[in-house]
């Protein structure tokens, strides 16, 4: 098995700028090509430990990030994201190319991989305990996810829960962790092992930084697991900590809005989600500081142990 980090900078650059670099990322095979040099560095730092694919592998998503042509090449340069020949987004400023790559890859999965019910959430695991953390905007799921990973939890994804519609198992799609604005400092201070590969000023989300996924999580990128818990985090620095169990029905209604493809899946989406919810415990976690949240998450793992005695 060859990994991206085995390539020299020259080899990596030349591949990215021609046919594209082919990587296995969880269940998907991506090919990434670009004519923008900053992306070579970014990909090298964040995807070094991912398996390289050779010519004999089928590529699910052929991605290109190309600089906008014509006057736009020199005059406030922009970049376009392509899945094959199709460009789903408006162009962004060249400085946002790295963020655009990550967002674009999420879109590829969310818009096409309907063999899974895809929930916008972080997913972490410890032993046999797998927790889905649905991502209401501003709730702090990414920060909590990063902290859990810092504490040694296994990263499945910080963005997407892929629930197999046949087996109900959750499949990892391990990618770089992205953090925004204040959380970047909170996490890097607490966990010095987190080294940002980028710091990008975006037009829509403020400052975004990306961190490589831990090697231990990557080593398990093909091992799915059944979900055991769903936790709805809500960070509020002024609030008292409040943890309560949520009914499965109520949780299901809440999480439908967080599913990318609940509607396209139709009846299958309903069946998958309802069976999933029926098999897990759901909690609402209002917290004002990370330590409280982390100890609650640890208690979920111990509960599993207690139950199995």
């Amino acid at each position: 098995m060859q990994y991206l980090e085995s390539l020299t900078k020259q080899q990596l650059t030349s591949q990215i700028q021609s046919d594209g670099i082919a990587l296995k990322i969880g269940p998907f095979n991506f090919s990434i090509a670009s004519d923008h040099s900053a992306l070579v560095d970014f990909i090298g730092k964040l995807y070094g430990s991912y398996p390289l694919l050779d010519d004999s592998e089928f590529i699910d998503f052929n991605i290109r990030l190309l600089r906008a042509s014509g006057l736009r090449r020199y005059f406030s340069p922009q970049v376009n994201f392509y899945l094959d020949d199709f460009s789903p987004f408006k162009p962004l400023g060249l400085g946002e190319a790295r963020a655009m790559l990550e967002w674009g890859m999420n879109w590829c999965v969310g818009a096409h991989a309907h063999q899974y019910l895809i929930i916008h959430s972080a997913v972490v695991a410890k032993g046999d305990t797998l927790v889905i953390l649905p991502g209401k905007p501003g709730a702090g799921k990414s920060t909590l996810c990063a902290a859990l990973v810092g504490e040694g939890w296994r990263l499945f994804s910080d963005e997407l829960a892929l629930v197999d519609t046949n087996t109900l198992q959750v499949h990892p799609v391990v990618r770089p962790i992205s953090l925004k604005n204040k959380s970047i400092d909170v996490i890097t201070e607490r966990y010095p092992q987190f080294e940002a590969a980028s710091r990008i000023q975006t037009s829509s989300k403020g400052i975004v930084s990306h961190f490589p996924a831990p090697k231990e999580s990557l080593a398990l990128m093909s091992q799915p697991l059944a979900a055991t818990h769903m936790v709805f985090p809500q960070f509020d620095s002024s609030a008292q900590c409040e943890i309560s169990q949520v009914g499965q029905g109520e949780a299901m209604l809440s999480v439908i809005d967080d599913c990318f493809n609940y509607n396209p899946l139709g009846k299958k989406g309903f069946e998958t989600l309802s069976h999933l919810m029926a098999s897990i415990e759901c909690y609402s976690l209002h917290y004002g500081d990370l330590d409280t949240a982390l100890s609650f998450m640890e208690s979920l793992v111990s509960n599993e142990c207690i139950e199995s005695d």
């Binding site: 699910d60 096409h112 063999q115």
Partner: protein
Amino acid sequence: MNVLKVTNQDLVLQTWKQPARCVHYSVKEWQLLVRQARASLMLARLGAKLKPFAEKGLIEARVWHHFQNDLLMAERHQQATLYELAHVNEALAQINEQAVILKGAAYVVAELDASVGRHFNDIDLLVAREKIDKVEKHLWIAGYLSAPDDDYNKEYYRRWMHEIPALKHFQRQSVLDVHHHILPLTGKTKINLSALLKEKHTVSQFPQLSTLSLPALVLHSATHLFHEGEFDKGLRDLIDLELLLTQLAKQRDGYQRLLELARETGLTRVLFLALRYCGSVLAMEFPDNVINSLPKESEKTLHLGLLDLAFTKVFSANHSSIESAAKRSAQFMLYLRGHLLRMPLYLLLPHLLKKSFMQLKDWVKRSCQSEVNNFANDK
């Protein structure tokens, strides 16, 4: 940056015509097929055709997911179309008016073979010209709004075109294209519309709506395709015709009714072109008496020779792997032809000039606006 080499291997056409060959495809061929098919809106349709092979385990799971997921989306679009038609029906019922459903939406409602694996976007409706203002106003009340547009475009549509500007539902974002004729009023081809509408039948679940007979649907599809200027959906549309014709051929006197209707409506030319290219591009076979019944159209003129060259090039997968100078020339030639068929030169030239000028103005305005935004952000 040329990432995918040009191969000129049109796997969409090849697989559509000979699906059994897929069991011998290499990874590279499957790769190319999926990419070409997705770009040509044929992924779901091919999925329907290749399903028997997948069910026998002859297609690798990773590859099959792409077809299966697109089939899922196509089914979802169909459901959405029916749901939307229910709303349109309700709106029309309130003013006791009728409309005819055209093209893709008609295939779904009539449960035709052509609806399987087909993606849908806009719903095309035909309304009597004298009723169109009333219908438009009432659709507006039902939430279907005309896109904000400048006076020139509005004038262009109302005066010369066969349709009003597209109506978009403010909440559901669904789009209705409301026509009062099949072709632009300024166009060369004059059709006997009432003959085309003669055998329309009411849709049982939507009493205000009706669909054309199958022969009429064939002729409408052919008219639309062979008056087009842009062919990014060309292959998909030609395959629509193949599926409609194949289903018609199974009906008693299907071809005869088709030929009669073509003569009555004045659409023998487009029918001839449809049969010709379904034959040459898709290897469709027709009974001799059908081929020989349009002698005037099939005269070997230079014009027909040029059309053959051009259409053979554009009826191919809409993907960068099938690019060539010849294809681009063919596309350009047919683009001009499409425009000339819609508007005579003395109207077309000023119209194109005006549109180019407006687009240039718009581009400058947008570029300056984004500069202002960038400047504000940098502060």
